[in-house]
């Protein structure tokens, strides 16, 4: 229960910051000022927007399938929020440390699609229905390369436990039960003879441990943009050309929940990217001889120092990725639906398959 409340509070906090950051980043990239009126530098804008949405009338169309319509936002948000349960926030803090976290995450996130269909179908509006179909087509498609990219990381790490994967990517690797005798080699090539087990830092991040994972990181990142309906894959919304997608009939708080789910999804996919590829809560600073930067900036497992350092590194890496997501949104034009499918099925999926094959060989021959 405590973990639930903590995660919810943390998530809401990040989402508020993100919503504000998005407006400011967007404004700055377009040479505008962004919000300035509410609070210092407009910092209360996002909070006030939430308050405004809360006051709005809750409209349910007369001909809608009321139950589906009302349940859909809850389901969509719950599906995304449940994904946070397995994300390790610090070396000792995981809301729910289950051994098949990766598998669970992929499964529970897929529930999102059902929510979208419920929203589109329940609205009894052909535009909402079409929007839902587009969203679902996109998300289901992009789950393939995303899943394959995650699979390649899982193959390298030989684990479905997010916390174990996290431990592997740092100098604390031997403190995880069952990993006492594991070793890390530079670029994962034992033949080079450079043992980085105690060096930690950036050298043991997954994208360094197995440089092949850099490719799968890029694939995953692109696919994750599509899964969270972010530009350049935001045709489900396309608010500038269409009347908006599956959520066209929603108003007030239900609409806010849908948006909250979208922003939570952004945070979640960034967190997963960080955990799987960018060293999770591990510090980027390596131990260099007697200067054990990695130990100094990781804290002691189980104590406050590790919680603070771990949380700090995890969140700062996540924010870098989130910023990248925002920047991409304000840089690239929206893809057409056929280009989108082309990218997914003809470029990313074969590439991801090749990476999975490569990761398998890597694991067999190198490490």
């Amino acid at each position: 229960m405590l973990a639930f409340v903590l995660t919810l509070v943390l998530l809401l906090g990040i989402v508020i910051v993100l919503a504000y950051a998005e407006r400011k980043v967007a404004a700055f990239m377009q040479d505008r000022l962004g919000p300035t009126e509410a609070g210092p530098y407009g910092s209360l804008q996002a909070v006030l927007d939430v308050l405004k949405l809360l006051q709005k009338e809750d409209i349910v169309p007369a001909a809608a399938d009321k139950n589906l319509f009302k349940l859909a936002p809850v389901l969509i948000f719950a599906a995304v929020f449940a994904g946070f349960a397995v994300i390790p926030f610090t070396p000792s803090l995981v809301p729910a440390g289950i051994g098949i976290g990766v598998f669970y995450l992929l499964a529970i996130i897929s529930l999102d699609v059902v929510g979208l269909l419920m929203a589109g179908w329940g609205s009894n509006n052909k535009y909402a229905m079409l929007g839902a179909m587009r969203s679902v087509a996109q998300i289901v498609s992009y789950e393939v390369p995303a899943g394959l990219a995650i699979l390649s990381a899982v193959m390298i790490c030989q684990s479905l436990d997010f916390q174990e994967i996290s431990y592997q990517q740092g100098a604390l690797i031997n403190q995880f039960p069952g990993q006492e005798y594991e070793m890390n080699w530079l670029f994962g090539i034992k033949a080079l003879g450079i043992n980085t087990t105690l060096v930690g830092g950036i050298t043991t991040w997954n994208i360094f441990r197995a440089p092949l994972l850099l490719v799968s990181f890029v694939i995953y990142f692109i696919a994750s943009l599509a899964e969270s309906n972010r530009a350049p894959f935001d045709i489900p919304e396309a608010e500038s050309e269409l009347v908006a997608g599956f959520h066209v009939e929603y108003s007030g708080f239900r609409f806010a929940v849908l948006f909250l789910a979208e922003y939570s999804m952004m945070v979640l996919v960034s967190l997963v990217a960080v955990v799987l590829f960018l060293g999770s809560w591990n510090t980027p600073l390596p131990n260099i001889g007697p200067v054990s930067l990695a130990y100094w900036t990781s804290g002691t497992v189980g104590e406050w120092s590790s919680i603070l350092w771990g949380g700090f590194w995890l969140l700062s890496k996540t924010f870098v990725l989130l910023f990248l997501q925002l920047q991409i949104r304000w840089t690239y034009p929206r893809l057409r639906v056929d280009q989108l499918m082309h990218l997914c099925w003809k470029v990313l999926t074969p590439l991801a398959l090749a990476v999975v094959l490569g990761a398998g060989i890597w694991r067999l021959l190198m490490v």
Binding site: A27, F28, M29, Q30, D31, R32, L33, Q327, T331
Partner: protein, 201 residues
């Protein structure tokens, strides 16, 4: 006609390169966001030397200075107005309403020396309708109707967009009307007397 194929540069690395240069572009703008445009007058040396940074201003607090001869809100210097009605006649949208009352005697001169013989109990310009064409200011014989550089005069209630320029209170206007009526009665009486005298004579 010979058709020439447009050669597209394409290919994987070209795509990557252009994607990255796009990111670099937005990043450059983001980085320059520390600079801000300052509200300068157009003659200021700095006016064209602010190529980067944020270009928007927080309007009610900052505003670009308008030119001295900017033509926005109408103003009527009613003391100089001879109530000739020309402006109301030329106005393409009929947003000037003038009523006039003849004065019983000369009521003064305008600043350019024209004699004033009419009062204007009503001189209204509905600036909500005005299209700022400036025709009224062109025809005004005494140059009392001018366009000023004031452009920020939005109102919450549209009724407040009707500007009343008359300098007569309703009572004064009534008084002037009565004066005129009395003078006309007197003149009519005098005329009747004169007519009667001629008939007798």
């Amino acid at each position: 006609m010979e058709q020439k194929a447009i050669k597209h540069t394409s290919g994987f690395w070209f795509a990557i390169k252009s994607l990255l240069s796009g990111l670099a572009l937005t990043w450059r703008h983001f980085r320059k966001a520390r600079n801000r445009r300052t509200p300068e007058y157009v003659t200021d040396d700095n006016y064209f030397k602010q190529p980067d940074g944020l270009v928007t201003l927080t309007y009610p607090y900052e505003a670009l200075p308008v030119p001295d001869n900017g033509r926005y809100r109408l103003h009527n210097e009613i003391d100089d107005c001879i109530v000739c009605d020309l402006c109301a006649k030329i106005c393409p949208v009929n947003c000037i309403t003038i009523e006039s009352v003849k004065a019983t005697e000369e009521i003064g001169t305008t600043s350019d020396g024209t004699k004033k013989r009419l009062y204007a109990p009503v001189f209204d310009i509905d600036l909500a309708q005005c299209c700022y064409c400036g025709l009224c200011t062109t025809v005004c014989p005494t140059d009392c109707l001018t366009m000023t550089p004031v452009y920020d005069f939005a109102e919450v209630d549209i009724k407040n967009m009707v500007y009343h320029f008359t300098d007569l209170t309703p009572e004064q206007a009534e008084e002037k009307k009565q004066l005129l009526a009395r003078q006309q009665e007197e003149m009519a009486a005098a005329k009747a007397v004169a007519l009667a005298a001629r008939k007798q004579g």
